[in-house]
């Protein structure tokens, strides 16, 4: 028996105060975890404690509170580095989230290094956050975008990779787990293939970081991005990981306080990374809250979280096929902790409105994946996404509600 079977998941669920409530007179079922996860009491109390006792600006004040805030902020950077297997905390840049991390790379790295004729390779399954920033910089620099196609089963068409990964490719940016299909991409292989032709890699870890063990050195990526709020942490804080030599080569992105060593009216010299990329007062509380989320997740263990999430996902896929006219999207297990589906009887928006009236939070729409939806000829899908505090009983209840929806709309 795997250890995750011995964990008291019910007790863990009780760590999340928000889950204990009624929505429209029914117990809340929160299945929108791919959008954002809920926060355990440990994270909420860390934020409160910081504001009640230690709040001050970082790296400047020569007083006690500023020292405490600075120390806690930098300790959080250290904690993130350990959590993802970075070589040092200097490889960790705090940002507002995955989107900002990718924009930083696209704008600052791309602005300096991309030339007309260069190629940025993406995939057809990227979230808009790993597509639009590249479109913007491609337009500015004359670089070209290419895309690894997605097969009908929701996996990447790896057989096309050789013809796409040519020497013109300077960056290969792709997601670890698809937010609408649940596909887990073979990151290690993709990074090795890119490295072999001298291209850099950037991996979007948004959907994987809180769900499965992630070690950037084992993955072999050059850069990686994720958000705190999708891993039980606060909103407003995220991370850009970059190998030391790569971050050092990227020029500053935003200018301001915090990121300088000396400033005259004409000229400024900049700090080294990561501080060079953190202009202005950062989200200090957010970083500290993120470290608290990391502590919390590590107490459970991501391998066990993945086991538990996988059990929920497999069970959901099995039960959903009982509903007539429901079609599941994406590959079979192992996959991310989400199921996307379409139903002939009801449009995703009607379905999510219906579910919401029963206290069930689903997501309906294009999931910031418009090109992918077009690829599958769908206006949108309905998505149920899970985290370790969800239960098999909640999935049973979802199936019941979806059956009612079929009767209601058909």
């Amino acid at each position: 028996m795997h250890k995750s079977a011995l964990i008291d998941w019910e007790k863990i669920r009780a760590d999340f105060p928000i889950l204990d409530q009624q929505v429209r007179d029914q117990p809340l079922i929160y299945f929108d975890n791919a959008a954002t996860t809920q926060k355990p009491r440990a994270v909420i109390e860390t934020l409160r404690n910081y504001y009640e006792h230690d709040n001050a600006n970082v790296h400047r004040g020569l007083h006690e509170l500023s020292s405490r805030a600075t120390e806690a902020y930098e300790r959080s950077r250290q904690r993130v580095a350990e959590f993802i297997g970075a070589e040092s905390e200097e490889e960790i840049v705090f940002t507002r989230g995955t989107t900002e991390s990718i924009n930083l790379v696209a704008q600052a790295w791309g602005g300096k290094f991309l030339r007309p004729g260069n190629v940025v390779l993406l995939t057809e399954m990227e979230h808009h956050s790993n597509l639009v920033p590249w479109q913007l910089i491609a337009e500015k620099t004359g670089a070209e975008l290419r895309f690894v196609p997605v097969r009908d089963d929701g996996t990447l068409a790896l057989e096309k990779l050789s013809s796409l990964l040519t020497k013109e490719v300077k960056m290969f940016a792709f997601t670890h787990i698809s937010n609408s299909l649940g596909t887990i991409n073979p990151v290690t292989e993709l990074c090795a293939r890119a490295r072999a032709i001298g291209a850099l890699t950037l991996v979007d870890l948004a959907q994987s970081i809180g769900h499965i063990p992630v070690n950037v050195r084992e993955l072999g990526c050059d850069l990686a991005a994720f958000s705190g709020h999708k891993m039980a942490g606060p909103t407003g804080i995220g991370v850009l990981y970059g190998r030391r030599e790569i971050l050092e080569a990227i020029p500053p992105w935003q200018g301001g306080g915090e990121m300088i060593t000396s400033v005259t009216l004409q000229k400024t010299t900049f700090k080294r990374s990561p501080h060079r990329f953190e202009a202005g007062t950062p989200d200090i509380a957010g970083a500290i809250g993120l470290a608290a989320a990391i502590d919390y997740l590590e107490r459970i263990g991501r391998a066990d979280i993945f086991q538990h999430d996988s059990r929920l996902t497999s069970y959901a896929m099995e039960r959903l096929t009982e509903i007539p006219s429901l079609r599941l999207l994406g590959p079979p297990a192992p996959r991310g902790a989400l199921v996307g589906f379409v139903m002939a009887a009801a449009h995703p928006h009607d379905l999510t409105t219906f579910a919401d009236q029963r206290g069930l939070a689903l997501r309906g729409g294009h999931h910031c994946n418009q090109p992918l939806m077009r690829r599958f000829g769908l206006p949108g899908t309905t998505r149920a996404s899970f985290y370790f505090y969800n239960t098999l009983e909640e999935i049973d209840r979802m199936v019941e509600i979806l059956r009612d929806a079929v009767h209601f709309f058909a």
């Binding site: 429209r24 009801a346 449009h347 995703p348 928006h349 009607d350 409105t353 219906f354 009236q357 309906g364 729409g365 294009h366 418009q370 939806m373 206006p379 949108g380 209601f408 709309f409």
Partner: protein
């Protein structure tokens, strides 16, 4: 079943969403408007044939979307067909008020369209109800040919 949901999805609305009226091509349309609701992915292609006096001689639509957007488009085309430009404009304003403001009584001229009042309790769904009407508003302002609208403003 709760009452807000039943008010939103009344039988007439579900019927129009399952079997939309005036659904299909209109080969001799003078104006075609493509309407887009990017937040949902709802799409409508509205085709209008205005008479010499500006009246709505014929109006049809194609597209895909949720029950609310389909039913609203279906009911709209039924209501507008044969209306003068001035009448159509009044109906357009009346419908916009119906789904967005808290007017006490909906004008009887709207007929079954009044059933769409239920969307006011679902703010995220107002755009679904209004999509086809925004397309028609654009058609009124387009002398001939094609145009496009979106429920989200593009920059």
């Amino acid at each position: 079943m709760n009452s807000d949901l039943e008010e939103l999805y009344q039988e007439v609305i579900l019927d129009h969403s399952r079997r939309p009226r005036n659904f299909g091509e209109l080969p001799d349309a003078g104006v075609r408007v493509h309407g887009d609701n990017p937040s949902c992915g709802d799409e409508i292609h509205l085709a209008v044939k205005f008479g010499a006096d500006g009246a709505v001689e014929d109006i049809r639509f194609t597209g895909q979307g949720c029950a609310i957007s389909q039913a609203s488009a279906s009911l709209m085309t039924m209501k507008l067909k044969g209306k003068s430009r001035a009448e159509a404009t009044l109906l357009l304003r009346a419908f916009q008020d119906l789904v967005t403001s808290d007017v006490a009584a909906a004008p009887p001229s709207l007929g079954d369209l009044r059933l769409l009042r239920g969307v006011r309790k679902f703010p995220q769904r107002v755009k679904c109800a209004i999509l086809s009407w925004r397309a028609f508003e654009q058609a009124l302002q387009t002398p001939s040919g094609e145009a496009a609208i979106s429920t989200e403003a593009d920059s």
